[in-house]
């Protein structure tokens, strides 16, 4: 019973909880966070169960209302969507646990709205991952996006401005995607992804296909912050609440990248695309530009969250570079990086949140080596995540970069290899800068007598433990990457 309805239970858990929270909140506002966390936890458990039981079997196709496609809408639960669901929901669960203490500091009066909207956003993301219908994708995309705009607006004073900017850019993106779907529908007469894929060889000569493809790619590209459409990202992340950043940064852009994978690889097929438009090359070059741009801009930042935002632009570049190569290795590298980056970035944003809570700021210039004594756990997690971002073995980040490097070498794409390697070094610059500040005593400060005893001021357990768990997960994901890779290999088209 659970098996066959699993694709529906997971997203609709979020829907149910998003409706329950406002009702409960009328009674007791404080209950929003635990209820939301419970909802996310339930979904995470179901997703994990799904991944573990699903591996290798046929895709599960759930027809809504019993209407078979192309008449009805379907949810497709195959290896790739199972994987994405697990990643997205588990990270969300940990982030929501982490938000327990932050909520009082950052949005105490708007808890109900915040958590309800988070649930809606997760519904949107889960729907995007599962759906097998192009228009349904648009609907869930907009659900997720609108919730995202609202979440970003719940932040500091300039947050609504950043949210408005994101709204404009994001809606343009969604509209372009919709226009692309329109062109595609015009030519194929169907909205079902699988149907379109089957039909494509027969109508390959149609020029509308090119238009559709480009419009859809650009539309989703805006959502996934593909260079040069990334401009909304840094501002949005900086002013939003730490929890929103931790949710939208690792998850939102990844889901959009996943949608690109679905459309380009599964629906259209890269060989067919490349016969008409050299999309692989274009995407690859844009991804490289994004990687370099993001890394360089990150070095120039002095505020931690903004630095992480630019770093995210670079990391999305890796993912898009990976799957744009069109090989199985490339796809594995990209998907592994989706997982690894989700964990790394969530951990890093949590660290930023911890520091903001305890220190009142996350300005890098003001960090000093007292942090080592005050926040040993948080900084340990930061170190693990930073080393993983740089790509040092045996942490997870090394392995996703390794598969990406192999994929790039396999295609003899030397420019991409150089970009991949150089960006690792650039990552090292902006992370080691912080590690130096935190772990080494600043020699410019004169020591007069014994240094004062700095007591531990770690953030509360509900914030510390998720951070540490994610940090340690990176070690486990690194050393244990082979089972994951084998699973992903089965998920490739």
């Amino acid at each position: 019973m659970i098996e066959s309805h699993l694709p529906v239970y997971i997203p609709f858990t979020f829907l149910a909880f998003s409706l329950v929270i406002p009702l409960l909140a009328i009674w007791k506002d404080d209950w929003s966070q635990p209820v939301a966390t419970a909802g996310a936890g339930g979904a995470a458990l179901l997703s994990l169960y799904g991944v573990l039981t699903h591996a290798g079997s046929e895709p599960l196709r759930y027809y809504f209302g019993g209407w078979p496609p192309p008449v009805g809408i379907e949810f497709v639960y195959d290896g790739l969507s199972a994987f994405m669901l697990a990643v997205v929901n588990i990270v969300t669960f940990l982030v929501l646990i982490h938000s327990r203490k932050i909520r009082l500091a950052e949005f105490a009066s708007k808890q109900m709205a915040f958590y309800s909207v988070v649930m809606l956003m997760m519904l949107g993301f889960n729907g995007m991952i599962l759906t097998g219908d192009l228009f349904n994708m648009f609907v869930f995309l907009e659900i997720a996006s609108l919730s995202g705009y609202a979440l970003i607006a719940i932040g500091g004073k300039p947050a609504p401005v950043a949210a408005f900017r994101y709204l404009i850019i994001g809606t343009v993106g969604g509209s372009l995607y919709l226009l692309g779907v329109g062109f595609l529908y015009n030519v194929t007469g169907t909205l079902n992804m699988k149907d379109v894929a089957d039909m494509l060889p027969l109508i390959a000569a149609e020029r509308s296909l090119v238009t559709a493809l480009i419009l859809m790619a650009v539309g989703i590209g805006i959502k996934s912050a593909l260079f040069p459409m990334h401009g909304w990202l840094p501002d949005s992340y900086t002013h939003a609440s730490s929890t929103s950043s931790a949710l939208i940064a690792p998850i939102g852009t990844k889901v959009a990248a996943y949608v690109l994978i679905r459309i380009l690889l599964f629906t259209f097929g890269l060989e067919q695309i490349n016969a008409v438009v050299p999309l692989t090359t274009i995407l690859g070059l844009l991804a490289c530009a994004g990687i370099l741009y993001g890394s360089i801009m990150a070095i120039a930042q002095f505020e931690l969250k903004r630095m992480l935002a630019y770093s995210s632009v670079a990391q999305i570049g890796y993912i898009i570079l990976g799957f744009s190569l069109g090989s199985v290795l490339g796809l594995i590298g990209a998907l592994l990086h989706v997982l690894n980056h989700a964990v790394m970035k969530a951990c890093l944003f949590m660290v930023a949140a911890n520091l903001r809570l305890q220190e009142g700021h996350s300005d890098i210039r003001r960090m000093d080596d007292s942090y080592r004594l005050k926040y040993p756990g948080t900084m340990a997690a930061f170190t693990l995540a930073a080393l993983s971002m740089i790509g040092l073995p045996p942490l997870a980040g090394f392995f996703s970069k390794w598969y990406l490097a192999l994929a790039v070498i396999e295609k003899s794409n030397w420019l991409f290899l150089v970009v991949l390697l150089v960006s690792s070094l650039l990552n090292a610059v902006y992370f080691f800068r912080i590690l130096e500040k935190v772990y080494l005593k600043n020699p410019k400060i004169q020591e007069t007598g014994a240094p004062p005893i700095t007591p531990r001021q770690e953030p509360p357990a509900s914030m510390l433990w998720p951070t540490l768990i994610l940090g340690v997960m990176l070690l486990a994901l690194g050393l244990g990457n082979v089972p994951i890779v084998n699973f992903l290999e089965g998920a490739a088209p």
Binding site: L392, L406, P443
Partner: protein, 493 residues
Amino acid sequence: MIESFTPLYAVICSLAAVPLIVLSSRRPNLREFWTILAALVKFGIVLSLLPHAAAGTTVTAKLFEIAPGVPLLLKADPLGVYFALIASGLWIFTSFYSIGYMRGAGEKKQTRYFAYFAICLSATMGIAFAGNLLTFVLFYEMLTLATYPLVVHKETQKAIDAGRQYLVYTLTAGVLLVAATGLTYIFTGTMDFKAGGIFRGTSLAPAVMISIFLLFLGGVAVKAGIMPVHSWLPTAMAAPTPVSALLHAVAVVKSGVFGVVRVVGFVIGPEAMSEFGLNDILFALAGFTIIMASLLAFRQENLKRRLAYSTVAHLSYIVLGASLITPLGMTGGIMHIAAHATMKITLFFCAGAIYVNLHREDIAELNGIAKVMPWTMGAFTIGAIGLAGIPPINGFLSKWFLAVGALEGGMILPVAILVLSGLLNIGYFFPIIRNAYFNEGEHLEGHTEASPFMVAPIVITAALSVLFGIFPNLFFGLFDLAGAIAAGLFAIK
């Protein structure tokens, strides 16, 4: 081939000591006890592998897979055991010496020092026993990370800058190594070290082979101190002397030249090296380094810096030996790994003892100290003579075989370089010895020999240098082992 977990135990026994060291930070004697115990246990384990290595059998520990089809492989082959023996053996002496040094100099953060030292030795064992390139890369990067806190130990501005330079060089090298490994895997389908070379018998375009070789070289050259990427070595002298002694005279730099030998003998292979003229490139770099570094040593006023440049020169003896592509040349190079280790560690120990005892670092300040520190200076003299290649110290033997190996290959130039370098060695060591013995000392009243913790290791390593020079097969059969390793690389038909 024997399957056993012994190589794994060798790697992790010092890792296991790390928590114990950290927990006993309040009780220095207990903490030091753990270090000594770990060193002895590690040496014991490696010693147990020696009979197998002498017989030519390999002890393999195949662990879980870290990439599909690529296991974490620890293979105790003759070369690995040779290197591991030297590193772990000298760690025992360094541990005793460290106790005397750190306490005498009143250094802070001793717990961090001893803990990271233990991790470094683990990484070194891992490098020695790595059975495939991916495992090698893993431990190589681990060594980089573990040595960083030791380089910046003093936390002065000089130390931090030295650490930064060290990181820039070694991380870049790491990235190049990863690229080279990826290329090897894609082009040959395997990453396992093979005596005679993975590339033996493959037919690849010269451009490809040369690029791969250059990338490998870039990866190991930094740690091996080949010019022009050697400059981190003298700068890293900002670290405490035991760090300089073990790591930069034994573990880190020897890992670098060990890497060179692995690349020349086990990845590219002597056949492919000569077929594509790669050995000429290597020879040119090695020869240049030997002469330039020896000349630059003259300009150094600081004792440790002079020793650093001497190290750079002598490391390239080993590289020279590898580039000769003759069995005797390779034997000479491998022998010099051990010879240089014992001699240089003696010299660095002496420099540290002088610093702790008399607070003197510059050569000009060393006037007359031989009267006050007779044992120290005696050992220093032995080490210096040995490095110059004068019998009966082990430095002479390795140099002899290098020269004979060159003649065996019909080359005169290497012999000329070796002779010239020997003269230069005498040239830059002589002023030190002359100042210490024949000049009038100042402000030396009341000073005696340094602490026995330091003097005993110094005397023992100097004595070992002499003993190994007269009886090269004493205790461990190192000479035979070196010969067997070299023969094994060339014997494949």
